[in-house]
């Protein structure tokens, strides 16, 4: 499969109003790439994602989506290229799971939102991919955090976009569900050629699934790192910068310094 350039940022500064949170971000993301966005809280991970989503205007710089300037694309067109999973857990949303997933089809529907047979099939397919078929008729508030997260992901999949942006999708998940989601995302990028950016605090998962890691350091500098280069270097420990644990390059895992206590 030929690599296609899906997202490209040139010297982008993001923030609220005129108050910049993160400056001079530049990167390109191709089809089939899975990137994890890491960095401490408040360093601008969500802000950057929201800006690429077009929910927040950028302060300066240029964002291209499939070669087109983000601001020049209509909201309807963008919705066919880019789907999102936000940090909002949708806990209090008074909708059934299947209705939440149905909204994923809305960019393709006219004003009356009538679902065709094909739409129904896509919705069912999305639900089955995340293993949420059994609770289609349940109400969102009655689902557990993990179940709800699957529904939210199915909603994004139903949008059938080439690009997926996920803001801390594993935040509410236990280890088993985190691994399940990781496998699913990896498959989506590998087999369906989707471009995926996922913000997370979970370094261990990121090291295993990401092709590249975007890292925002304490000084709000944006770094692009090749995951395989991190695995064997000391760079990882510099980045981690914690007295409580370190990266074991031989074993390829993080180790907590239990003996120090």
């Amino acid at each position: 499969m030929d690599k296609e350039n899906y997202i490209s940022l040139k010297q982008v500064t993001v923030g609220y109003g005129s108050c910049p949170v993160l400056k001079d971000v530049s990167f390109t993301l191709n089809s089939g790439e899975l990137v994890c966005l890491l960095g401490a809280n408040g360093k601008g991970k969500s802000t950057l994602l929201k800006t690429i989503m077009g929910i927040l205007p950028s302060i300066s710089g240029e964002i291209l989506l499939k070669g087109k300037v983000l601001d020049s694309i209509s909201a309807e067109e963008k919705a066919k290229d880019l789907a999102v999973v936000l940090t909002d857990s949708l806990r209090d949303v008074n909708m059934k799971a299947k209705d939440v997933v149905s909204t994923g089809r809305y960019p393709y529907l006219s004003w009356n939102a009538k679902l065709s047979k094909e739409d129904q099939a896509i919705i069912e397919d999305s639900l089955s991919k995340v293993g949420a078929l059994e609770y289609v008729d349940r109400w969102m508030p009655s689902l557990s955090d993990g179940e709800r997260q699957r529904v939210i992901l199915a909603r994004a999949l139903a949008q059938e976009t080439d690009i997926l942006l996920l803001d801390e999708p594993t935040a509410f998940l236990d280890l088993a569900h985190t691994m399940e989601l990781s496998v699913l995302l990896k498959n989506l990028s590998r087999e369906e050629g989707k471009s995926i950016i996922m913000s997370t605090h979970d370094w261990a998962t990121a090291m295993q699934i990401a092709d590249r890691i975007f890292w925002i350091d304490e000084n709000s500098q944006f770094h692009i790192l090749e995951t395989h280069a991190l695995r064997n270097g000391d760079k990882m420990n510099d980045m981690l910068n914690s007295p409580f644990g370190k990266w074991n390059a031989e074993k390829g895992r993080f180790e907590i310094n239990i003996n120090d206590f």
């Binding site: 929201k50 929910i55 949303v93 508030p141």
Partner: protein, 320 residues
């Protein structure tokens, strides 16, 4: 539901302080005329316009409530909460208490000016406030503010003026005549149809503004549309019937208890129908069949609406 509406509509026409037997109506349909000459006037000049007013006012208020609850993602939202009803009240208070005069269409106009003023403030605020919660709080504050202003106005007014304002404030479906209906109904019908046409965007909004935006909904324009729509619907109803509490807030909940649906394509028509039925029922109770008095509509809707909303919240909390 539609059948139920028709039954209530007919019952509402025939019940009242002057009891008109149904059999008389069938005689009239056969061309035999009424058994009492005044019945004709009571039915056509009073009861039918009143029933129609109740129907459409109920629908409009209930749909306004639904739109606001979806827009703010808050089950407590309603036309009262955004301060639109209060704005209308202030307009009417200024007219009746300050200028102490009323001419044709003056009350509706004053109400519209009042509610539109609040609306303009809300639209202005909606551009500046990111969160809907701030907007909701602003609406509450405006309600208090206008309430206080109305209180001050009343303090400085003559008692006759206060009486006419208080009468308006009690609410009634009976003040509209055919000529009023000709102005009122088209606006309300257009508003309801427009609300229905925005079902898709409203469904997306249930997920929150960010998700709606990611689905291609323009938040700015849907926000403006909903505010204008709610503002106009509520202003028109308030102008002609006085402020009517709880229909807007309670009817969407009533529908939710009864059908498990969140799709606005289904809920908007249901809420409109239920709103019409509830308004007619309240009107029937208000005219207290068998007695010579007519109770104020606003008291009836509050008497039934407030306990219902409390019941709903308790039930919801137990489930949640």
């Amino acid at each position: 539901m539609t059948l139920f509406l028709v039954v209530i509509f007919i019952a509402d026409i025939f019940l009242g302080s002057v009891n008109i037997p149904l059999s008389d109506f069938f005689e009239y349909l056969k061309g035999n005329g009424w058994s009492h000459p005044s019945y004709n006037a009571i039915i056509f000049q009073y009861r039918i316009p009143k029933a129609l007013t109740a129907c459409f006012a109920g629908s409009a208020l209930a749909v306004s409530g639904l739109l606001m609850q979806s827009f703010f993602r808050n089950p407590l939202a309603g036309p009262y909460v955004l301060g639109i009803s209060s704005g209308a009240s202030l307009g009417v208070a200024l007219l009746l208490l300050f200028f102490s005069g009323s001419f044709l269409l003056s009350v509706p106009l004053a109400a519209c000016i009042g509610s539109l003023l609040v609306l303009i403030i809300m639209i202005w605020a909606s551009k500046r406030f990111r969160s809907s919660v701030s907007l909701l709080i602003l609406g509450l504050m405006i309600s208090y503010l206008t309430g206080a202003l109305v209180g001050v106005l009343q303090y400085f007014s003559k008692s006759e003026e206060i009486q006419s304002f208080v009468l308006w404030g009690l609410g009634s479906f009976a003040k509209t005549q055919w000529i009023d209906l000709q102005i009122m109904l088209p606006v309300l019908v257009l508003g309801l149809v427009f609300a229905y046409s925005r079902s898709k965007a409203l469904n997306s909004l249930l997920l929150g503004e960010s998700y709606a935006q990611s689905l291609g909904v323009s938040i700015k324009s849907i926000r403006r549309e909903i505010l204008y729509l709610v503002g106009i619907l509520v202003a028109w109803v308030t102008a002609y019937c006085g402020p009517i509490a709880f229909v807007g807030m309670a009817v969407p909940h009533l529908v939710r208890l009864w059908v498990e649906e969140s799709d606005h394509k289904i809920t908007i028509p249901l809420v409109a129908l239920t709103g019409a039925c509830i308004a007619l029922l309240c009107d029937m109770i208000a005219q207290a069949p068998g007695f010579d008095v007519v109770l104020p509509i606003n008291s009836i809707t509050s008497l039934f609406g407030a306990p219902f909303v409390i019941y709903y919240l308790l039930k919801k909390n137990r489930l949640g």
